[in-house]
Symmetry: C2
Subunit: 381 residues, 2 copies
């Protein structure tokens, strides 16, 4: 059982959707598929005025598409960082010649509108503000994206958001929040096999993109826009993944997108209730605990490896460790995609048994009970 | 039936290989898959000293990986062009600041060693020479890659080859030919669904890559090398396509790689015999006719659309038209991947009937007979 922050488990229907003979990507059949996928994605992003593009690349590729299309050399880019994925974003902009100003966020906090306003006053020449909607590496969610979007627009800065793990798990309404370029992965809360990235582009972002004369061809969004006029991609797309994604979106809309989001919220409520009962400490400060992935300090005396190996060997549940300089210092449990009550309950149960077997004094029954109570209270009907 | 130059038809076993529940890409299971795929790919490229990387991207992305990793701003890059894919290569290098010198090849010719030698004497500061092994847009194969590789090495220039449609159809021994960076697609002669690109890197190429301080993160080959030490990719790979590719390689090696190449050669012999019987004119000059894709002028009085639509509607066979400025001026028939005798024969038969129905005086029986004779003579036992 995968309880890692992607790739996630996939519905049988999605698996079957890929089991087809190949088609020409310059055919009416592919164009219909593209149209279907884009129109459904539009609902996910609540995008009326923004465009949506689908790249054959991982989420990191999508973030690079944002950076490489928007950045003029020397552009001041403000990155609000609470972990590794913000650092990657900074790296992508720097690779295309941006003058990156990194603003480390206070321990456990997401981006703060008051701080952003001050930063933009200190750096009035900021061209772009960027941060992850959900910082997967530290389990911190950005709560105030709408307000930050308003502030960015007020200051004439574009807002770029890495929503790779957020989209499908929480609302990411790009127009309403003034997100100029938003990047999503399909292999996270949208429960599709990995290999595609979604990129939304606002009208303001287009103005900046069009000013660039030279864009790296593979991620050139102007080319994408041109081919999208006939529902095609400039280069050969990963056709099987388009089939998979289309079916994953069918499943989401049959279930109801609001309910899909509510299910993620309910899963998070149950998960956190159990984790708190074990007395685990989160990297996220109060109110910033990510509903997508919980990141916990390793309890004193225990090791990352012991926890994860026990979970895997004894209970068949895969959870994640820390990334980069958090390696060995944290463990992470995701609540992504095909979340079910029993997945959450089994994870809390297995984690309790694991912690206990490693010498920690935890009350497994109480944790399971608290988890179940929260699931019952929150699970969408 | 797909007779287009990619994506190609896929074996049922390859389709089934993807029909699995998702796994963690940081697991022993994925590492074993990666190792398997890389070691088999090594045989395809006859690569002993070169490294092989697998990118989640189309072939164009692979070419961009070559350009973005190798190019220092101002580097002189000599591109030998016989069509659109050479132009794309030039565009990729230019996007990363290269001083691109385009050398248009004489009509219908592949790169010529004598001309390359002269060009390198005229431009002794050439850092990189690049061209497509198989120019898919005009049906021209490069015959003299080995000799050109020797000349490039003699002159201290790196050789970059776009072998996206060539690999798996003809021998592309990267070490023997001194190809420093070779890019292959898996969705062509390797008969895998699209979405992965292969990139080989020679020791000499590494020296140049390491000189660069800033590489675009998504295609950063130094990162790829680092993660390959433990058989992983830096970012989430398209796992389902790795399964597909692994099974496609199993099929190729069970059949025998030499035989697989011989089958492509036999298919080409049969295809060209039929096309010649119809008196069609190739873009490729004598000796440069690509065994991977045949590109023909539209016979006088006929149109591209009429030929392709009739082939599709009456015979269920998809062939391709021209690209960019060849649009409406040519048609192309591919001989890629899962080539069988009956595919070739049916295509020649259907094409003859099509040309006849459009008013051309052709001898369908003679063409089919000539095709079959060549197939019989060349098909591997």
């Amino acid at each position: 059982m995968l309880m890692i922050p992607g790739p996630t488990e996939i519905d049988e229907r999605v698996i079957r959707a890929m089991a087809r003979q190949m088609i020409d990507h310059r055919s009416d059949e592919f164009r219909a598929l593209m149209k279907s996928v884009v129109e459904k994605s539009r609902k996910i992003f609540e995008a009326n005025s923004s465009d949506i593009y689908i790249l054959t690349a991982s989420g990191t590729g999508g973030v690079e598409a944002a950076a490489s299309n928007l950045t003029q050399p020397g552009d001041k880019v403000l990155i609000l960082s609470a972990g590794l994925f913000a650092e990657r974003m900074a790296e992508a902009f720097a690779a295309y010649g941006a003058n990156v100003v990194k603003h480390p966020l206070e321990n456990g906090q997401g981006p703060n509108p008051v701080a952003v306003k001050k930063l933009l006053e200190t750096h009035p020449d900021t061209a772009i503000v960027g941060f992850p909607f959900n910082e997967t590496s530290t389990g911190i969610i950005s709560r105030d994206v709408k307000e930050i979007g308003r502030i960015c627009r007020e200051h004439g800065a574009l807002l770029v958001v890495d929503a790779v793990t957020a989209v499908g798990g929480v609302r990411v309404p790009v127009d309403e929040y003034n997100i100029d370029v938003c990047v999503a992965g399909t292999q996270k809360c949208l429960a599709t096999p990995p290999g595609l990235a979604l990129v939304t582009v606002s009208k303001r972002a287009w103005e900046k993109i069009e000013q660039k004369k030279l864009r790296p061809p593979y991620f050139d969004l102007v080319k994408y826009r041109h081919f999208m006029e006939r529902w095609e991609t400039p280069f050969t797309p990963a056709v099987t993944l388009f089939w998979a994604f289309d079916e994953a979106l069918n499943i989401i809309f049959e279930y109801g997108y609001e309910r899909w989001l509510a299910r993620h919220a309910a899963g998070a409520a149950g998960l956190y209730a159990g984790l708190r009962t074990y007395g685990l400490e989160f990297y996220a400060g109060p109110g910033f605990e990510s509903p997508i992935v919980a990141a916990m300090h390793i309890p004193p005396g225990l090791t990352d490896t012991a926890i994860r190996e026990t979970m895997k060997k004894k209970y068949g549940i895969l959870i994640s460790g820390g990334l980069a300089h958090y390696k060995g210092k944290m463990f992470r449990i995701a609540n992504i995609g095909l979340i079910t009550r029993d997945k959450v309950v089994n994870t809390i149960f297995a984690l309790g048994k694991t912690l206990k077997s490693l010498g920690m004094d935890v009350d497994v029954s109480a944790a399971v009970e608290n988890t179940e109570r929260e699931l019952d209270r929150n699970w969408p009907s």
